[in-house]
């Protein structure tokens, strides 16, 4: 897994690429924490490059959501592949997160 971070104006996009499982979820966790430290208006997690995620990856996103709520950062997930979406649905987290299909519309979500 690799994590790309890009910022423009008020938005920061975090884009992991590759499977997110227990062996790398800590890397995603620290990337998200670091990004949240800057208290941007909006953090967009672009998951279009993630074919697989297990519950350790989901846990890092739940943690980021909790941080975001404390500091009024808006957290948006986008570009989820079908397999990754299914884990959010099974965990009933698809209604807890703000999830949009298209990375292009995440800026205004």
């Amino acid at each position: 897994m690799q994590v790309d971070i890009t910022s423009n104006d008020a938005n920061t996009t975090v884009a992991p690429t590759g499977d997110v499982d227990l062996s790398v979820s800590r890397d995603l966790q620290s990337a998200l924490k670091k990004v949240m430290d800057d208290k941007p208006e909006r953090v967009i997690v672009d998951l279009s490059g993630v074919p697989y995620m297990d519950s350790s990856g989901v846990a890092t996103l739940v943690e980021a959501m909790q941080i975001s709520r404390k500091q009024a950062t808006r957290l948006v997930l986008c570009g989820m592949q079908e397999k990754v979406r299914s884990i959010f649905e099974i965990a009933r987290l698809d209604k807890v997160f703000t999830i949009v299909d298209d990375p292009a519309t995440a800026d205004s979500a």
């Binding site: 227990l22 519950s55 890092t60 909790q66 397999k83 099974i90």
Partner: protein
């Protein structure tokens, strides 16, 4: 175990005696970097059995969650523990077991009360506490138990809905 009404766990996984010798057995060290290989092995076999791409990926996820729990809770992050994964395929032809894929995950960890192995309530959103729930939702049947000598065992099964596919190829003509 907070089962949702739309996914009742009707059947118990078949007993090890009914299953007999496994088709495949994987013995792996308790290392997170080995999770991808093991779940892809099982996912590939599930696909060959006729499970859809999505279902095969979910079966791999259920196994990944089981293995990750053994690594984190059982071996407490030790990287030299042994985990044994066995896999059976039942054809459902007249035997007592319906057509499906059966997995067994065994470890050599200190034994715990199987009834304590359960996820958080889904409504209490917090990081973690989802693995066991995912296993139960994805698989048609699953049971945690103490092994005879030492360590824990998880048996889980997913059955094939109707005649979903074949183990070999198919030829389609057109034009």
């Amino acid at each position: 175990m907070s089962e949702s009404p739309d996914h009742p766990q009707i059947a118990a996984p078949p007993s090890l005696t009914d299953l007999g010798e496994p088709l495949v057995r994987v013995e792996m060290r308790s290392q997170p970097r080995l999770l991808a290989g093991t779940r892809e092995l099982v996912g590939a076999i599930a696909k060959r059995l006729g499970f859809s791409e999505l279902e095969a990926g979910q079966i791999g996820l259920a196994l990944d969650e089981a293995l990750a729990n053994v690594i984190r809770h059982g071996y407490k992050g030790r990287d030299d523990g042994l985990i044994m994964v066995s896999l059976w395929v039942s054809e459902g032809d007249g035997s007592t077991v319906g057509a499906g894929l059966h997995l067994c995950v065994e470890d050599q960890c200190p034994q715990v009360d199987p009834s304590k192995i359960r996820s958080r309530e889904l409504s209490e959103v917090r990081p973690g506490g989802l693995g066991v729930h995912l296993i139960q939702e994805i698989m048609d049947a699953s049971v945690f138990e103490k092994r005879e000598q030492s360590g824990m065992r998880l048996r889980m099964s997913k059955f094939i809905p109707h005649n979903a596919g074949t183990m070999t190829g198919s030829v389609r003509h057109a034009g």
